[in-house]
């Protein structure tokens, strides 16, 4: 487009190149890639079905097997292959991570932009509501909602979205109010641009880097929240495997079979860490004010 100016392209070029110079970010990206591939090709990679109760998966006394040659991550209390369940569980974590976080991000952005751009009574109402949500004990609210509904994958995702949009709304609001007061927005107005044009062509593009950063960091929070709800037994319900509910199902036996808790636990940690590392690197790369600070 001919009238493309610097203001229209707030996401700088060469992000990938600069990201590639950070070993931790690369490590995070690689971890995410491995989990995504594992989830996508779970039926091809998994040696057994996720719900298959194997006869040879239990000892003669009926105890689960520790990791060995045949079952690399061991088996669970019902004689199911843990590696296969972890692979299918990755689908749950990723779907919830992306969907719940996407919805939260969308709600947060709309609330933040509307409140920050239009101000007035709409803005006041929205931000007071956001303050109110900030005072909610989020985990308690999520547990309560999830426990009372019979939780399916989608309900868990919506519950998480419902408690997680607040942070995004606040940062987007702050950024939008400062942007609205900048000279180039005033100039646009003087030239006769309408609110819709200013919002879509000038405000939103400037919010993109921040939304990318918060979106990435937010997936980490979402993954942890899903795991926590599932661990408490109010998240995704068995037999659908999720990393959290694998631990929930097996925790009574964890003194004798610690791998059933710590292998899925390590996966939850790795995925959450990966998104945090990538998100942090993106913040450094995308936000020029942060650059060179430390």
């Amino acid at each position: 487009m001919a009238d493309t100016t610097l203001a229209d392209r707030p996401v700088p070029a060469g992000i990938w190149r600069r990201l590639a110079r950070r070993p931790l970010a690369l490590l995070g990206l690689a971890t995410i890639l491995v989990v995504v591939l594992g989830a996508a090709f779970a039926p091809l990679i998994a040696p057994y079905g996720p719900d298959e109760q194997l006869f040879e998966g239990l000892t003669l006394q009926g105890a689960p097997l520790a990791p060995n040659g045949q079952f690399v991550f061991g088996t669970d209390l019902l004689g199911r292959d843990l590696f296969s369940r972890i692979l299918y569980g990755a689908r749950t974590s990723l779907v919830i991570g992306v969907v719940a976080n996407g919805v939260a991000l969308a709600i947060g952005t709309v609330v933040g932009v509307v409140a920050g751009f239009f101000r007035g009574w709409i803005g006041a109402v929205l931000m007071r509501f956001t303050d109110l949500m900030m005072a909610f004990p989020a985990l308690l609210l999520a547990i309560c909602l999830a426990a009372i509904f019979t939780p399916s994958l989608w309900i868990v995702a919506m519950v998480i979205a419902l408690v997680n949009w607040v942070q995004t709304a606040r940062v987007v609001y702050t950024e939008t109010t400062t942007l609205s007061e900048r000279e180039f927005i005033a100039a646009e107005r003087t030239l006769g641009a309408g609110s819709a044009r200013i919002l879509l062509r000038h405000i939103l593009p400037h919010l993109v880097p921040m939304i990318i950063v918060w979106g990435t960091l937010g997936i980490s929070t979402t993954v942890l929240l899903e795991a926590t709800l599932s661990y408490l037994g109010v998240g995704v319900q068995p037999p659908t495997p999720s990393w959290g509910n694998i631990i929930f199902e097996n925790q009574t036996y964890f003194q004798a079979a610690p791998w059933l808790v710590f292998i899925p636990g390590a996966f939850i940690l790795a995925l959450a860490l990966a998104f945090n590392l990538v998100g942090d690197a993106l913040r450094d790369v995308l936000d020029p004010t942060q650059r060179g600070r430390d």
Binding site: L24, F129, D131, L132, M134, A135, F136, P137, A138, L139, L140, L141, I143, C144, L145, A147, I148, F149, S220, L224, A227, T228, Y231, L232, V234, G244, I247, Q251, F254, Q255, P258, V261, F262, G265, A266, I268, L269, A272, L273, N276, L277, D280, R293, D294
Partner: protein, 306 residues
Amino acid sequence: MAAYLARRLVQAALILLGVSFITFLLLYVLPADPVRQIAGRSATAQTVENIRRQLGLDQPFLVQYGRYLAGLVQGDMGRSYLQRTEVATLIWARLPASLLLMAGGILCELAIGLTLGIVAALWRGRALDQSLMVGSFVAVSAPQFVVGLLLLYVFAVRLGWFPIGGYGTFAHLVLPALTLGILGSGWYSRMMRSSMVEVLRADFIRTARAKGLGRARVVLRHALPNAILPVIAMIGIDIGIFMGGIVVVESVYGWPGIGQLAWQAIQRVDIPIIMGVTLVSATAIVLGNLLADLIAPMIDPRIRLK
């Protein structure tokens, strides 16, 4: 100052009113019937109706909420549906355990987080600093229950140094507090590091050095007090995150605090208890934020109360 405080307190009360309304509404709308829980499966329709009328649950929503509020302003949080006890009594009985766990957790996270943050700042850019910052990311990304179970497994099951869950002695407190502490320390070490780095760059530090003071004295007497205060002031904001963590950690260790109380109440749809714990937690969060805002200008006079 007094006007500011008054305005903030009114705001806090309004927020709590909003929290109570939304929670009450959610519990009213959601498809869980507390009466069924109380009456049991074999109850006749007549019994169910009687219980419903006794508890006032046959009334319209606004009447129910109005009654609840009327009780609340008189300090009456209602009675538990299943335990036949005042909610306030139940919460009051559990509160000391939760406060103890919180105090232990905050102490641990400050001790770990501030120390690591200071060390990282002093060795800025070196391998030690980098590995500490990766460590802080790990702490921030770790699921609370996994860390809880890991500490439990290593230090209680394997090594037998601490009891496996429960409540009573100092030994019972160590692992739960450490779990909360390790998780929270990631956040504090990052804040402490950046605060310390900023202070170490300030002119008065250069002046102190130029006067010929030793490095240890400059760090301990001049930099540290200035860097540490703003971080400690964040404790107020941290309370919200803590209230969530407490539910999980109490459940892992069988710690008899308000988190466990809430968790059991949620499973049995014991609405008055859920309401009570939610309101107590929300009050803690609101007061924590208020405290943080009040402390900020005392530490940094450039911040003005608006």
